[in-house]
Symmetry: C2
Subunit: 489 residues, 2 copies
Amino acid sequence: MAKKITNQSDDYSQWYHDVIREAKLADNAPVRGSMVIRPNGFALWENMKQALDGMFKETGHENAYFPLFIPKSFLSKEAQHVEGFAKECAVVTHSRLKSVDGGVEVDPESRLEEELIVRPTSETIIWDSYRNWIQSYRDLPILINQWANVVRWELRTRMFLRTMEFLWQEGHTAHATKDEAVEETERMLQVYRTFAEDYMAMPVVTGTKSASERFAGAVETYCIESLMQDNKALQAGTSHFLGQNFAKAFDVKYQSAEGEHEYVWATSWGVSTRLIGGLIMTHSDDQGLVLPPKLAPTQVVIVPIWRDDEQKANVLEYCDGITAELNEHDIKFKLDDREGYNPGRKFAEHEATGIPLRIAVGPRDLENHNVELARRDTLEKNIVDRDGLGNHINELLVNIQDDLYDAAKRRIDENTHHAESYDEFKDIIANKGGFVYAHWDGTAETEEKIKDETKATIRCIPFEGEKEAGECMVTGEPSLQKVLFAKAY
Amino acid sequence: MAKKITNQSDDYSQWYHDVIREAKLADNAPVRGSMVIRPNGFALWENMKQALDGMFKETGHENAYFPLFIPKSFLSKEAQHVEGFAKECAVVTHSRLKSVDGGVEVDPESRLEEELIVRPTSETIIWDSYRNWIQSYRDLPILINQWANVVRWELRTRMFLRTMEFLWQEGHTAHATKDEAVEETERMLQVYRTFAEDYMAMPVVTGTKSASERFAGAVETYCIESLMQDNKALQAGTSHFLGQNFAKAFDVKYQSAEGEHEYVWATSWGVSTRLIGGLIMTHSDDQGLVLPPKLAPTQVVIVPIWRDDEQKANVLEYCDGITAELNEHDIKFKLDDREGYNPGRKFAEHEATGIPLRIAVGPRDLENHNVELARRDTLEKNIVDRDGLGNHINELLVNIQDDLYDAAKRRIDENTHHAESYDEFKDIIANKGGFVYAHWDGTAETEEKIKDETKATIRCIPFEGEKEAGECMVTGEPSLQKVLFAKAY
């Protein structure tokens, strides 16, 4: 059997697409830059949604749903927002087709008076509603999240990482005070960090964006950034403190307990199906997808092996006992008893789809009261006792989750550098890649020069780590702390 | 306080909109015919989704996600489909805006080569994928469902019942044989019936549509139909047997075990946020929304009542014991201890939002070791013992669920008639409304004549009940069974 997945070391980008295809996560769709999320990919997204949604609800948020279409005029209301953001959008101009010679054409008579924009993000349409919902301080805070599809007409697309249409959640909150809004922005950043690290086993750095990388309309953008296996950074989630910008643009005021009319303070925050791309590029290998047990739709696959009908009956009966025990232990498993596929082919398929553990059971295992357990992450195989299998597997799933995080953390640490001069910085970016901490003078000019000369951007001004003052590696001007650079997706 | 909800008997349509507003289910959105689903409405939809999704998965289906945009040419491929269906659609023609004088305009240079249609339903884009996924009989059946937003450019809209954009699920399955596909169509109809009756407490009639009411592209459309309080029928869900129509249009064949290449058989089936409209018009009253306990986001609200700080402390302590007990019993509750609202206002608000049970607790209840329980459906109040409250409430929630179904069933039965002549039929439709069973000759001409003269349509050719032959009430031609007529939403 020809190897279906290109090696990472040969062509990382091709490897990425091969993994997506072989794990049946997604297909390219007929419209350029859009994709079909297949059942394996969507089950993963459902698990991510469920974990995140639980955390949003625990922190007091409710879900709602706002319209897909935004009147064009709304996008003009917040000047920075439209300037920085809203240009590459899908525009609806007509509302009817008509039959022409067995085909269909757009009916020119159905032209809309005002064009509609397919939401690239929902701040404008949501703040138009908030104006009606907010009168008094008693109506605040509003803590709403939406799970939705959005469209951005991207020119260069890559599955999951940047697609024309993608699925995401967008939180939009309204508060009486600046402090509360800032606190919310920070709270949601921590929710994202917890999700990335505890569920995805993907270590992240948190910090704020530089002005030029900030969300259009935000006063401050907080982010989580991770480092992929090819030493490029991935922005995995953002949480924005919007100040009073949208409240002013949409005239949203509240009456305080003291009777004053004041503008409301706002946040927004989001993560998307891009996280699936991050997950793939954090853990997967030349055999295909590797999934952390907490997010894997199937945690264990059981492959029975037989040569004749008698063996088959005995092996499947043995498997019945195993499935009953896994059920009792709340382990998500499937039994692959398909006929007409040899075990090697089944093994390769389950490795490609990233199932964390495989149990193989053959006639000899029955005799010895054993099973063979194979870990997807390390590809280690072990013969283990049939007794206590459920407990053993649950412990192992916890270990795998932890080991995946530790391995990713080690990899990122090994690829995190400090540059003390611009020459050293350029050398690292050109020859090693990875995260590079360096001093920067805080100006957009220097940031731009570095980007032009090295393609590295400021991923964030990090919250963690030493805050040692120094001098900008480019200009020698004073710097309060090192910031985090990398080439990024 | 002025009454905020119009009486049903004064203006049913206004009552419907008042209930939606006072229950905070949804708002009109800025774009005509679209709506904002507020947290109360969305929580209800989430509960409906969760119950339905569980039933879909139990019957072997997986979720996936297909693109929002469909190339215009796809809609020409299945001739009946485009003829009957795909005309009133949102059409995307451009991909960019540009800044002009502080506002934005559509950039004429961004005109697309082929226009994109915002999906009105996804058969075409999904069957384009299925062509790539299906080679052999081993790839069948494909049992996929999608939760998504769709857009139909409706001229006459009404919140939840018919909106330009709505949320729904659409199942799309592919099978090796006709029998399997028909079985799937029937299975999903039964899932919808179970959901409508067991969760929504909304009795339905099941049957097939007449040819003129069939889904465009279907060989047979099965449906569930219910009767609303104003004696108009509501189509609440449909399940379509699509034969080989889409397989032929998109050239989807499989190789059978015998090596033959054959077209695949298909079904599709869907329910939408329209169900929320059906729920409102099945149970609600002049005080507002009435929700069945199985779907209510909040099943019980606790309203503590006090006059001074000492009473407040004692009452809230008593409530702590109650909330602990409700938690133990897995009852979804909230405690309304807001300051500055009198109990009467709180009661009215919770009645408007449809919470099935209210517990009121005042100082006297502490003395007597009681609580006051009020049922939303009957508005009955009872003083009940504090001991055993959790069990008592769980029983009561089951009773309310059953009573709501029984009351709706009684109402529908009382408003279901049999017409033995066309004069009798016209009299019932004009003066009583409701479901009317009558004999029909099976022709589109007679169906059309009845519709023109009475505005009643054939809701379905029912599966249930007597199949007694007779003569068409209009033409006297033979009829195998009575069919179900009504004026409908």
